[in-house]
Symmetry: C2
Subunit: 505 residues, 2 copies
Amino acid sequence: MNVVSTVDPRDGRRRTTALTETDEPRLEVIAGQASHAARWLSGLGRLGRADLLDAIATSLEARRGDLVAAAEAETGLSHSRLDQELTRAAVQFRMFGDVLRDGGYVEAAIDHAADTPLGRGPDLRRMLVPLGPVAVFGASNFPFAFSVAGGDTAAALAAGCPAVLKAHPSHPLTSHASAEAIAAAVRDLGGPDGVLATVYGEQAGRALVRHRAIRAVALTGSVGAARAIQAAIDERPDPIPLYAELSSVNPIVVLPGAAADRAEQIAEGLFASFTNSGGQLCTKPGLAFVPSDPSGARLVDTLREKVAATGGAILLNDRIQAAYEKQATAFEQAGARVSARAQIDSDEGFRVAPALLEVDLPGLTAEIADECFGPLMVVVRYADVAALDAVLATVPPSLTGSIHRGPDDDAGVVRRLVDWFAGRSGRIVFDGYPTGVRVSWAQHHGGPWPSTNAVHTSVGATSIRRFLRPLAWQDAPAWVLPEELQDGYTAITRRVDGRLEQAAR
Amino acid sequence: MNVVSTVDPRDGRRRTTALTETDEPRLEVIAGQASHAARWLSGLGRLGRADLLDAIATSLEARRGDLVAAAEAETGLSHSRLDQELTRAAVQFRMFGDVLRDGGYVEAAIDHAADTPLGRGPDLRRMLVPLGPVAVFGASNFPFAFSVAGGDTAAALAAGCPAVLKAHPSHPLTSHASAEAIAAAVRDLGGPDGVLATVYGEQAGRALVRHRAIRAVALTGSVGAARAIQAAIDERPDPIPLYAELSSVNPIVVLPGAAADRAEQIAEGLFASFTNSGGQLCTKPGLAFVPSDPSGARLVDTLREKVAATGGAILLNDRIQAAYEKQATAFEQAGARVSARAQIDSDEGFRVAPALLEVDLPGLTAEIADECFGPLMVVVRYADVAALDAVLATVPPSLTGSIHRGPDDDAGVVRRLVDWFAGRSGRIVFDGYPTGVRVSWAQHHGGPWPSTNAVHTSVGATSIRRFLRPLAWQDAPAWVLPEELQDGYTAITRRVDGRLEQAAR
């Protein structure tokens, strides 16, 4: 059996771990346990699962020190960032606890038997039910919030679906420790093995996706990873959904009035947004459209100074480091000029130089309007807001589109940009930055291809919908119905004979 | 240009029509008009689109005589069935009018800016917005309710998505007349071309799916058709969702107590359910599990008499006729014996003999537990209810599973069957038949593969979700927000800061 190794990005040193890559016999055991655990999760009911999610949040926080230390050594991300991310992971589990207690997510609907224009209609009752065990591919860049203890896991368990996590090779020990934290909470509630399991190794990931027990796959990763997983799904006799959150350029348009109003402030915001976490965020702004007037020049000058004054960034692994260097070179070859580049203070580990590139509007090509994963942003200087519409067509659809406006900017221009971003992004940000995604009921994380492949979201309360399917009961005796569909049940909001009946408080 | 022909299944005669197969230049025009129409539909707003849907329903009913006559000549389905189906089509448009007036389908959510465990959270507002133009592949067996004037069209237009229909080759003139009826309603409201368009020919269907303007595909058809459409989608640079409603066996279990209680009544219900519309319904029961005791024998005897006394059935086209004959022969070769077969009274057109086949429980193979599109049902005789669990594993997942119980049947047995069907179907029917799908808020039409490929439904109010995607606005000024997301808007139910606020009445 292949031993799993871990690398510290701060010095590049590889160490072996006590973990081994998951082989086929072990995967069979895991899949069997997951199928068994599905019945346990379902039997817990909504409120029981809410308690489980709260207990998982508490268990993660109780191990905060160990988890953050493990992630620091495997990702090179800062302590404060990882500490925040662990809080976010706990918040996500607790949010889904609230979603379960609310219960509206099951979309319960009852149509009593009635005369219709097509004759007598039967009694029909419908709600969403769990899909079954799901596979989740953890992300490199969020060792907690999009990995074993991440939002996909929280959404899956909330839905009643056991989760089998493919651990990202960048942080196997963090993944293992996270799985232990979750398992401890499950054990405390008397739960079986298989509510959450972790597999290691690419081979195991492919076998997992092909396994008959798996009913859906969630991925936060690259377009290449999505294609490989889809190819494995295509080998199944039965297709299953793949929810993939992929690549995003996240353009930001700074209108002339905004630059005139607060050039330095925007420069600081942009700098933080594209360099924090080594620029390794799917919502990192990769393109900023800045006016070529004096205010825009002031903005870019401030950005330049900040980039030049910063140090090297440590990236997650050698592949991301190599891809960053390659993409930066490709941008230059496509005509973007280096506006500022940081000094790398050490050649240890996976360090790169944060960089600001610049191009004038007619020079923005599809090559430059591509994602660069890491601390690089391209500033596109434009002379005339009227030219923006045409040039934005070069930019691929994204998770987000941002607009900075000032008091002097024309409402018509803003309206046109909003319409543009509405068609080509999943979230429109005003006078802010796309990074720092709020986890809440109204949040949404997704967008037209290539930012995601799905019409769903991977963040926020409604991301649970991905792991549910509708089931209807026709003329069923009351005793076989789930409690949510029985007459007189008032704990959740339901649609009865077409009318919404709000939950009793 | 290839001329489109039409065939009368009652006599098999082929006639040319004035329609031609859609070529690439014409498809470009249609796609351009659809993109333009998307803006018009969106501009109408929810209430405007509700009026449009009502007008379409009225327009269809105003042309009832012509539409039903066209469909009779192209499908061989009975006048009364087609008349009912046109009513169902109108009901579907009107139901989505109600869905729009209710407005809950946009899932509006507002999280005001607030302090969170992760710092200050921005103001976030989210709702579902239209995907853009969608392609719909009409079904052979429902010239109205699952074709040009069908539920997918109604759901798409309700969502704000123009629909481009690939007309089924079995009923081009009905498709054309339906499109005219819808176009008339659009014109009366001042709408542009492209709100609904129809394309003809297989080549055009493939080109449609590959067209960059198309954002989703809905299909009611065969697994083969779904694979061909998926292959065309795979040629796109950007994947788009395919919502496919496919093959289904719809097993019915008659428990001993039910047979003892009402053998003849169940026989009549089963007979009607598998022979009506020539058995060409995706919810047709293909397998009935009947006890091998004297009550079960009475049930089967009654069924036999009814089958023997019926005449030939006219199927939709020669391919369906040939597939029916082939599948019936395959069942016999796999060990099912012919229990009864109708007499065909004429060899004109696409006539086949409705048939009842029979097999004893150990003899049920995967070959026999396969869908046969047409008026054929296999009765599976079982001696012991305890054996049902194992044998149901032979039956592929279906749209529906039905259970007939009598006063003497054991609740534990019923509970086990319910659990079984919950995992392997989309709708569980008690003491009834899966055909005659009620169109209502709680209805659901879908199930695990191969009955559908999706976690959505193609019937009922929630089928609109297939053509929507989430979009979020962060810190947006009120004047750019859709009215549904503005503070103080009370016309629809929304989730505000996590709490459901019901629409004002």
